[in-house]
């Protein structure tokens, strides 16, 4: 019986953990300039969020950044 209760607790804990853990998110980013894509490399988490929200300033001009596969 003790074994069964322990199994129950472990399985419950594992299942809650597996659906709630937060994994790091990274994507390849780029912006479009003069009809060409300028690659920015892989950006993760807060860097990714900031780039998408604020864009990137290049030579005083702000460009919209896209971070997804084509």
């Amino acid at each position: 019986m003790k074994k069964i209760i322990n199994t129950t607790i472990i399985l419950t804990g594992l299942s809650i953990f597996s659906v709630s853990c937060n994994k790091s998110e990274c994507h390849e980013c780029h912006y479009d300039k003069d009809g060409a894509e300028v690659e920015l490399g892989e950006k993760c988490d807060s860097d990714l969020e900031t780039l998408e929200a604020e864009g990137i300033d290049v030579n005083g001009e702000n460009y919209e950044v896209h971070c997804h596969e084509h």
């Binding site: 019986m1 069964i4 199994t7 129950t8 399985l11 419950t12 594992l14 299942s15 809650i16 597996s18 659906v19 998110e25 994507h27 990714l48 969020e49 998408e52 929200a53 896209h66 971070c67 997804h68 596969e69 084509h70």
Partner: protein, 749 residues
Amino acid sequence: MKFYFILLILIIISFAKLYSQEYQGIVIDKDNGLPVPFASIWIVDLNTGVSCNSQGRFLLDFSLPQTMHIKVSAVGYTSAISSISQNDTNQIVLVLSPSHIELQEMEISTTTGILQNYSITNVESKTLEELTTINTTTLGQSLGNISGVYSNSTGNGINKPVIRGMSGMRVSTYLNGLKIENQQWGGDHGIGVDALGIEKVEVIKGASSLLYGSDALGGVIYLHEEEYAESNMFEAGINSQFEVNSMGFTNGFHMKIAKKNIRFNLFGNQTSQADYQVPNGNFVFNSRFKGQGIKAALGMNKKNWVSNIRYTFVSNELGIPGHTHDSVPSKEDLFKPNASRKKTLPLQVNSSHFLSTDNKLYFNKSELKFTLGLVSNNLEEFDEKVTIPGIAMKLNTFSFNGLWSITSWKKHKILIGAQGNIQTNKNNEKAEEILLQDLHSNSTGVFGMIHSKWNQQLETQIGIRADRNEFEIASPSIKDPGLTLNYQSLTYSAGLSYKKNKHAYRINISSGYRPPHPIESLANGVHHSSRRFEIGSLSLQPEFANQLDLSYEFNNEHIGLLLNPYVSVIQHYVYLNYTDSLIDNYPVVNYAQNELTYFFGGEVTLHYHPHFLHNLHIETHYTYLFAEDGQGKAISQIPQPRLMGLLTYDIESKSKLIPSSLALQATLFGNQQRVIENEIYSDQYSLLDLGASWKIVSAKLKGHLKIGARNITNTNYINHLSELKPLGIQNPGRSFYISLNLKINQKTT
């Protein structure tokens, strides 16, 4: 308020007669009077049971309600259901009739609470095991194997059930008594739950269910969660499935434990599918998806009180195929030479928490059942940015459902009930756009029904329901935040069933009513995953349906035949009208209405088990639907006629290498030429699936291994209900699969 609510429950409990007794019993063979060893004794009311010993004897030594339904079954016998009352003797003798095959198992319908044989409407009931004789990728695909039910799909991951040509808000889906509310208005918003912990599905077709709301004009899908373990038993298991076509896997586990008066179930799973492959070898870009879920249920009973607390969490990350970053997609954008499972755009993230408690109290001549539930759904659609959603909404729904069944009279059973919900929809400020405003809504319905059993042949049922719906706009972003929409309705259902010998006849007339959903009234924005700009209309009228449903059933030991024609007339049928305009490169669609829309159709089911070949089992069904508006014009997205046949053969062999059963499924879809302007017609096509299954049986371990292939001829086709049809994106090509399911059982004491 809380205090009065708790007080009310305590008063109700105190009025219930609280006493119980112990039962001993035996199961015997009707023909020779000998005991039937190892028969299963299932207490329907508690979702648990016990097994008989080798002498056919059993003991029910736990707290039992005053009246209960016992289902008894054994290999080689026709199952039976008996109603036992505590006024009866505590010595139970249950009798089983020998039969080498059981075409139609005896069951009490969860949706009606009445023996299915005596229901005045045809309730289709299938176990998930039956629906996955040939494995499927999702629950939505499994539901598409039921006669009269189709699956509307956006790739592999998003499936919506379609009953008699209707889906979305016209189909209500229930998860053990709790209505699933997950922004189901969207054509690309799937059913929202997967097969995790689901045992059985019941389908009520058409607008005939007063118990489950008047707005289910298409029908009701009731998902019945897995039963608890037998009393004093522990069960644990794992399951795993791999599909070659999408390199997809699903892994899960379950655990069940049951003591005398308390029971607990736990399930968990995880799935990941890459892009699927079409017959020419290319892969559909971004048809990938992944998901995970957990499910728990706790059941308790004390004398005349039975209670269950259930929780489910489902989260899915679904790629939306058929879209690109460019405004005009090319074939090179839609298909790729390689598959991937990496997250990309566009993307739909849909997660839901379902929490409910259902309680049943048993009185002298009546039963009271009440369910309280909370559904919290979070929907985010990402179109241009991976961290900033295009739209994001949180829909919280609190619902209640009370049903009082009175059996004070010998011939009549009276059902009185109330149902309702309070709902809030809130947009996330982080989202780029608002498609549907913030709003509050509340709905209440009351109903009464009388089910009468006049004699062994004739049963009738008549009922009436009143509903009230109110929607209040709470968003500060629109000009009139105080706008309130009110709707009221009265609907009915009446019918009879007549059984004579092996023949059963049913006739049912009923009505349904659906007020316009706020999305239909208020939409004004881009629906990213549908790639269109939707505009609602405040002048829409509620839909009102009248349905006539007839059925004839013949059953003997070897043949089961069902004919189920129907006609349904819907006033103010709402549809999406594509205009020539574009906003931000998205086509503009308006919500519009037809004055009258007619649906004629039917289902034919034949179940044949030849006497000369007992191991062979043939099941076939045909579904047909014709629909047009008041001017005789076609209606969009009407399913193709479908003939589906499943042939299974059980092999008796001692060799472990030889499969225990083989299955062949053939499906023929007829053409659909009746289409609206700009809708593409569909040609006929046929699909062939094969499967083999090995039973695994040892002293402690049970399970099965399944290997098979869907679309084995690699047929190139696009189903008429595929959302990807306008883009010419095919359904999956040939797909091999393998699955393994293992479980152990042991006594807890």
